[in-house]
């Protein structure tokens, strides 16, 4: 349970504050409502490259990290499909250093040609390290391109290809910054050993002087309903055959999201869950199997994935996955099993908000989603789902004609 105060500045900046008396630390989190889904299809990976550039200094403060570190702080950021998140944690008495830095880079970024060129190389190395030089590293790239044909979720946040990153220009940087980085497109959340009233006052002090801009409305292309099963088989230098099946599911605010989230816990929410018990232990087909939801704001993906044990055919592995899905569609889940995943969800929720960074990040995330009642309300939603609803959701979600199947075959030596 996170209590908070909300306030909107005249320039449009949303401020959320939570007083945590259990700590000496504070966390300052800023969400910008822009992610890879807002990119031009010819310039993918740009939102993430831009996030890197936010650490390359402004006219007034040439080095962003140094003042944070001098204040005993730590900072980082991540880019998603829907939003970009920046955070700083530091001793509460130094909170103004974080606000000073964040307000400065919200409008004062100063990127040189050299900084851009170096950062492009860094991001290409990130591409190499995390996606190309890893077994199964390109799984999400392949899956997205197969499952989405129109919506920008068809590419991963890192981008479709390193060439798009290499092609980014200073002009692109300026345009993107001007368009998306301003108070009216941002959410500031503060959690820590500081009263909510003072946090709001400090937000006014440091951000009140920034000019707000009206945001251009950007309509994203709507992904047409999928009506045919899709399939891709690739050969890669991987040690084991992997089977992945993805289904279209509801957006983050859709009731179907919560149904699917619960179903993913039935399948894979712990050692006792169905995929581990059935596919790994009883049938001995997979060395590991998992199910999860992508959690995107727009309609996302429900993923089931596993590594086959040696000697098991792809057909057999796939059939076993579909048979688990058929059970979900036809056999009502027991009260005991429902209660189990609900308990687990409640515990996960509480364990996911134990320190100041979790709390500040959660505040920003739910505000970005646009429904603050979910911040402390998701456990109740989970608790309200019954066996009939699970069957309905399974039937409407796990249909062959909305599935995309990806197989990795190991190279033969």
């Amino acid at each position: 349970m996170i209590n908070y105060t909300e306030h909107t500045l005249a320039n449009g900046l949303t401020v959320l504050a939570h007083h945590d008396i259990d700590t000496r630390m504070a966390a300052v989190n800023i969400v910008y409502k822009v992610g890879s889904r807002n990119e031009n299809p010819d310039k993918t990976g740009f939102a993430h490259l831009f996030e890197h550039l936010m650490f390359r200094g402004t006219k007034r403060i040439p080095d962003f990290d140094k003042p944070v570190q001098e204040a005993c702080g730590e900072n980082n950021a991540f880019t998603g499909n829907d939003y970009t998140d920046y955070y700083i944690t530091l001793p509460a008495e130094n909170i103004e250093t974080a606000l000073w830095l964040e307000s400065d880079r919200m409008t004062g970024l100063d990127i040189t040609k050299k900084a851009l060129e170096t950062e492009k190389k860094v991001v290409i190395e990130e591409f190499n390290q995390r996606y190309l030089n890893q077994p199964y590293g390109d799984m999400w790239m392949l899956l997205r391109a197969m499952a989405y044909k129109v919506h920008p979720y068809r590419w991963a946040t890192i981008g479709m290809t390193p060439e798009h990153i290499a092609g980014a220009s200073l002009g692109d940087v300026k345009e993107f910054y001007h368009r998306w980085y301003n108070p009216s497109n941002a959410i500031l959340s503060i959690a820590g050993d500081i009263s909510e009233e003072r946090a709001i006052r400090l937000a006014e002090k440091w951000f009140g002087g920034l000019k707000g801009e009206k945001l251009p409305v950007r309509r994203l292309p709507v992904e047409p309903l999928q009506s045919e099963a899709r399939r891709l088989e690739v050969v890669r230098p991987v040690p084991a055959t992997s089977v992945t099946v993805a289904f279209k599911m509801g957006g983050r605010l859709d009731r179907n999201f919560f149904d699917c989230d619960l179903i993913s816990d039935l399948l894979a929410g712990g050692a006792s869950a169905r995929l581990n018990q059935s596919l790994v232990k009883e049938q001995g087909l997979f060395s590991a199997a998992n199910a999860y939801v992508s959690g995107d704001v727009d309609p996302g993906l429900f993923i089931i994935t596993g590594h086959l044990l040696p000697g098991v055919t792809v057909a057999r592995g796939e059939a076993a996955i579909w048979s688990e899905l058929d059970k979900l569609k036809n056999i009502p889940v027991s009260d005991y099993e429902l209660e189990k995943v609900k308990n687990k969800f409640e515990a996960n929720t509480i364990f996911g908000e134990l320190n100041v960074m979790d709390k500040a990040m959660n505040l920003g995330f739910y505000k970005m989603l646009g429904d603050m009642s979910l911040l402390n309300g998701e456990v109740d939603i989970f608790r309200s789902i019954n066996a009939g609803e699970v069957i309905e959701a399974a039937r409407s979600t796990f249909r062959p004609e909305t599935s995309s199947t990806l197989i990795y075959h190991p190279e033969k030596h």
Binding site: I21, M25, P67, Q69, T97, T118, N133, V280, S287, L309
Partner: protein, 434 residues
């Protein structure tokens, strides 16, 4: 509209870290129980720490298999029943294993903690090591290890340990995946009975704990059986080699590990070396990050740190570098170590590093469980929680001269072991031994 302000706010560096001291008692069987009662959140955690790391195993994979299979079937419950119960209570059960220790941790909401302890009792005291579960586990692990070993960075880590300790040394050895086929029930039972004993154990609990809960933990910990207090056994002197190149066909990046054996945490130069490795590569914006990432764009990340084991300590630098930049990156890394040995660190830079290290300690302590991890580490090193204040005193009092002299003493280029896993485009070995 308010005036735009941009003058820099003043900074306060927190003084003493007011860390919670555990209440400790020794149970009848000799197990020490440490209680950290310092949160208002309705959660609880207990960690059972055993000197049961891989260095103690007599047959390959027996330490990790024993630790991980304790929950896969007990006297009263099948593996599935154990898993069902833990999941039903929303409890977390975690096994963490290193060369020296196995740490078995249970975390749950306060309202389910007593039930969680009942399962913990079964797992810790009554595992049966069922043959069928062992077979499933070994198949799974064998494949997982193969997946890990297909990553250049993982290979580099294993080869680095072999290269600084020696391929047979308990801290250096790694085994082929196929050795999972030879894991036997007898081997696991032997390991469990020898290492999961009162003589090898201490317990740390934290959360919002009342007397009844603490008594229940004490009752469980007090039932851990006696056994022989066997030492580490065969602990030969390490033997380091200078360099090792392993070809990884088609690698777009080289995984690099550079480092050397030094000393354990209680050596007087350990903390000064922590400062040195932090300046070198211990934070974002460190000298190596600045050079290799921000100036050259050779890498997404580079890191250096001191590592501490029971009988040895070492320093290591780790990075993944664009293949074509590998040779220059190696030169840049040694240029940075030489600079630390020969030039005084700027007082402002040193101040910043002190503050980073102070902030790091505070961050680890944030939340109800960080304190438990810190306490475990301190006990393992023979220290109390007042160690943190002594650590920070040393960090705060170190001078630029001491930093330089420490670096000069330990960062001699010719004393390093260099490991590269990659694909030298010239067909060579980046100048390293094969």
């Amino acid at each position: 509209m308010a005036m735009r302000i941009n003058e820099r706010p003043p900074i306060t560096v927190p003084g003493k870290i007011d860390i919670c001291q555990p209440g400790s008692r020794v149970l009848a069987n000799g197990v020490a129980l440490h209680v950290l009662n310092c949160t208002d959140q309705d959660v609880a955690r207990v960690s059972f720490v055993f000197r049961a790391g891989t260095a103690f195993q007599r047959t390959p994979f027996s330490a990790s298999s024993a630790a991980n299979l304790m929950a896969e079937g007990t006297k009263s419950f099948t593996a599935q029943q154990v898993a069902e119960r833990l999941d039903f209570y929303g409890s977390f059960y975690e096994v963490s294993l290193d060369r020296d220790y196995a740490v078995i941790t249970f975390v749950s909401l306060l309202k389910f903690f007593m039930q969680t302890l009942e399962i913990a009792r079964e797992i810790l005291l009554l595992p049966i090591f069922d043959e069928n579960e062992i077979a499933i586990y070994c198949n799974k692990r064998k494949q997982r290890l193969a997946v890990e070993r297909s990553k250049a960075a993982f290979q580099a880590r294993e080869i680095f340990s072999q290269s600084i300790f020696g391929p047979e040394h308990p801290y250096g050895v790694s085994y082929p995946e196929s050795y999972y086929d030879d894991v036997t029930r007898e081997g696991l039972v032997e390991f469990y009975e020898r290492r999961y004993t009162a003589e090898n154990c201490f317990v740390v609990c934290s959360g919002k704990l009342d007397a009844t809960t603490i008594d229940a933990i004490a009752a469980l910990a007090g039932d851990i059986p006696h056994g022989e207090n066997s030492g580490p056994g065969n602990f030969p002197a390490p033997h380091s080699i200078r360099s090792k190149y392993k070809k990884y066909d088609g690698a777009v990046q080289s995984a690099i590990r550079i480092g050397k054996l030094l000393f354990t945490r209680n050596h007087p130069d350990f903390v000064p070396m922590q400062v040195v490795t932090t300046i070198l590569g211990g934070y974002f914006g460190s000298r190596l990050v600045h050079n290799l990432r921000e100036e050259h764009g050779y890498t997404y990340g580079v890191y250096s740190a001191m590592a501490n084991l029971e009988h040895a300590g070492y320093m290591a630098i780790a990075t993944e570098i664009a293949t074509e930049a590998t040779r220059d990156a190696l030169e840049q890394i040694f240029a940075e170590t030489e600079r630390l040995r020969n030039e005084l660190v700027d007082p402002q830079e040193l101040d910043m590093v002190r503050n980073i290290m102070t902030g790091e300690v505070m961050r680890v302590l944030d939340g109800p469980f960080g304190i438990a991890d810190v306490t475990i580490e301190n006990i393992q090193n023979g220290n109390g929680n007042d160690y943190l204040d002594r650590f920070l005193d040393t960090v705060r009092s170190i001078t630029p001269e001491q930093v330089r002299d420490t670096a000069a003493k330990y960062l001699d280029k010719d004393s390093f072991t260099i490991v590269v896993v990659g694909d030298d485009p010239s067909g060579g070995t980046f100048g390293l031994e094969k």
